[in-house]
């Protein structure tokens, strides 16, 4: 599917702009509660209506964009760092280290979806933004490690690695300066989809009441909205649309990046 990557890039750009600058332009302070205005429908004063505390939903969604961006980007950053580090060493060195890391990733991957994150949040008992990022990273890095390992295994047999060895370069230098730049295409593609996955996972956790507490997360807004959705469907509609559009935009972008950076895995 061509031509959707610019659409995706525009959506992602907009989301980032709102995440960074949005709170400066929010119509109301985040902590403003007005019990005389509970569950009001959308109006000129409250574009997306108000919630059960009389708080402006539009304002909360702007701040929620920041939460989504922070969780998405930092989860993938942590996963990338750990995954690339362990995956590249695994692939390049092989041996017992490789075996150990691969068995560990298999164990982590035995917990489908957000199950391990749910367990981690249960263990910490105090879901903060940091705990959520940590919980999602704990399972997330394994996919990157396996991908990088596979790519490094392919690359290390190539002539340029042999040439670098013959020139007397050390393992670290060959790995970092020569092998890794060649495996980054598929990794960047996966990282893009990873941001979408992390945003969706955070929203899911928040919807289950296990998200970062005290943060205006889109998922938490939706959870609250779902309680009243017979009465005030707009409370659930807007946060849901925000999640969907953001994830869709990132997926469009990821598809475009895959076509550009990772021709081997193109769908045709």
């Amino acid at each position: 599917m061509r031509g959707l990557a610019p659409v995706g890039a525009t959506i992602v750009g907009l989301v980032l702009l709102v995440a960074i600058f949005g709170p400066f332009f929010a119509p109301y302070p985040l902590d403003l509660l007005d019990v005389t205005k509970q569950l009001e429908p959308p109006s000129a004063a409250h574009w997306f209506g108000t919630d059960e505390n009389g708080s402006d939903v539009f304002t909360q969604m702007i701040y929620g964009t920041r939460v989504a961006a922070i969780v998405g980007v930092s989860t993938v950053a942590v996963c990338l760092f750990v995954g690339v580090l362990l995956g590249s060493i695994s692939g390049f060195m092989g041996g017992w280290f490789d075996e150990a890391i691969m068995r560990l990733t298999e164990i982590l991957m035995a917990f489908p979806g957000i199950l391990l994150a749910i367990l981690v949040i249960f263990v910490t008992q105090e879901p903060s933004l940091l705990a959520v990022v940590g919980a999602l990273s704990l399972t997330g890095w394994s996919g990157y490690a396996r991908l990088v390992r596979g790519q490094v295994l392919l690359e290390r047999e190539r002539e340029y690695v042999e040439a670098a060895r013959a020139l007397g370069f050390g393992t670290g230098r060959i790995l970092i300066r020569h092998v890794l730049p060649n495996v980054f295409g598929p990794v960047i593609v996966q990282a893009t989809f990873g941001v979408a996955g992390a945003i969706l996972a955070e929203a899911s956790l928040s919807f289950l009441g296990l998200g970062p507490q005290g943060q205006p997360s889109w998922g938490a807004l939706l959870d609250q909205g779902a309680t009243y959705f017979l009465l005030t469907p707009y409370l659930a509609i807007f946060p849901g649309l925000a999640i969907m559009m953001t994830v869709l935009g990132i997926n469009f972008l990821g598809d475009g990046l895959r076509d550009a950076l990772d021709p081997r895995s193109q769908e045709t």
Binding site: L4, I107, A110, L119, P233, P239, M244, E267
Partner: protein, 310 residues
């Protein structure tokens, strides 16, 4: 082949051992007194001590670890230590059928959507059918199921009143339709792309050209020769996606107020009952490992070209 089967089986055992160990360690890291969180702070010290004894919390960690293995191997997944001697498995026996029903119905829905659209896309790549289904697939993957569920409810239960409300007490097939569409949407998107790319791949192979050159009609080539080969990788994806269905069911069960493993887990988290949390997480992970093992074995049966002895 036999070596592969044995190796694959042993690898799964290793993963299971790792899962049990990881869950054991994680649950032991929960801060505070588990007994107080199960019984409440106000409970009598006698009751607390009785529960502590029954759960073996005063035993050394190695004995607790051994006793968890005992519970896994004898299939009880741990005792709740209430008066009736209920085990986690007793709880799961009531919850699993509902979750399996939901997961299987979602799988059927996903296949019903993905199969025709995936095949049509592959037969006419870059046509409007292909482009539309590509966007549909991405939308299916991107829409959060905890949003799609309430939206479907608004449209079909409230506005159109065509399907029952979750609270209405109606059971059976009609109550299963909306939850399974909700859970199946993401899977249908993934399957659609998978079927398309796999079939496109097969259609460019020599044996297809040979069949066409021999004068076999196009529909027969697609149906009898191409699809059969194209569906093999799809089977593996289905195995892996089973896990996504299980974890997605946790959310969908909450949206539609369905009893099931997800509801059991969420209630246990809310009640801080770590025995049930531990048992549910173990059950889902072990079920997932087993399904993946079975898929891998099936893979060899479906596609005899695959050589396992590498």
């Amino acid at each position: 082949m036999a070596t592969f089967l044995i190796r694959r089986f042993l690898a799964s055992l290793l993963v299971i051992a790792g899962v049990v160990t990881l869950v054991f360690l994680a649950v032991r890291l929960v801060p505070g007194d588990p007994v107080s969180s199960i019984l409440g702070e106000q409970a009598l010290e006698v009751d607390k001590q009785a529960l502590r004894d029954c759960l073996g919390l005063d035993l050394p960690l190695t004995s607790q670890y051994a006793s968890l293995w005992g519970d896994v191997l004898n299939g009880t997944l741990g005792e709740l230590c209430d008066e009736r001697g209920v085990t986690v498995t007793d709880k799961l026996i009531h919850a699993v059928p509902s979750t399996m029903e939901l997961a299987l119905a979602s799988l059927v829905i996903a296949l019903l959507i993905a199969f025709p659209l995936g095949v049509a896309s592959a037969l006419r790549p870059y046509s409007w059918v292909d482009n539309t289904s590509a966007v549909l697939a991405l939308v299916g993957i991107s829409v959060p199921n905890f949003w799609l569920g309430p939206m479907l409810l608004i449209v079909f239960s409230i506005v159109l009143q065509a399907l029952p409300n979750p609270g209405s007490g109606v059971n059976g097939l009609s109550a299963l339709i909306l939850p399974s569409i909700t859970l199946g949407s993401a899977l249908s998107g993934k399957l659609m792309r998978m079927i398309r790319s796999s079939l496109l791949d097969v259609l460019t192979q020599d044996f297809i050209r040979t069949a066409r050159a021999k004068g076999v009609p196009r529909w027969r080539v697609v149906w009898k020769h191409a699809l059969r080969n194209a569906l093999i990788p799809v089977v593996t994806v289905l195995g892996l996606q089973f896990g996504a269905l299980l974890s997605g069911a946790i959310i969908v069960e909450k949206v539609f107020a369905r009893p099931g493993v997800g509801t059991l887990l969420l209630d246990a988290i809310e009640g801080r009952n770590y025995v049930v949390v531990q048992g549910c997480v173990l059950f889902v992970a072990l079920a997932y490992v087993t399904v993946n093992l079975l898929t891998d074995l099936l893979y060899g049966v479906v596609d005899p070209r695959i050589r396992f002895d590498r």
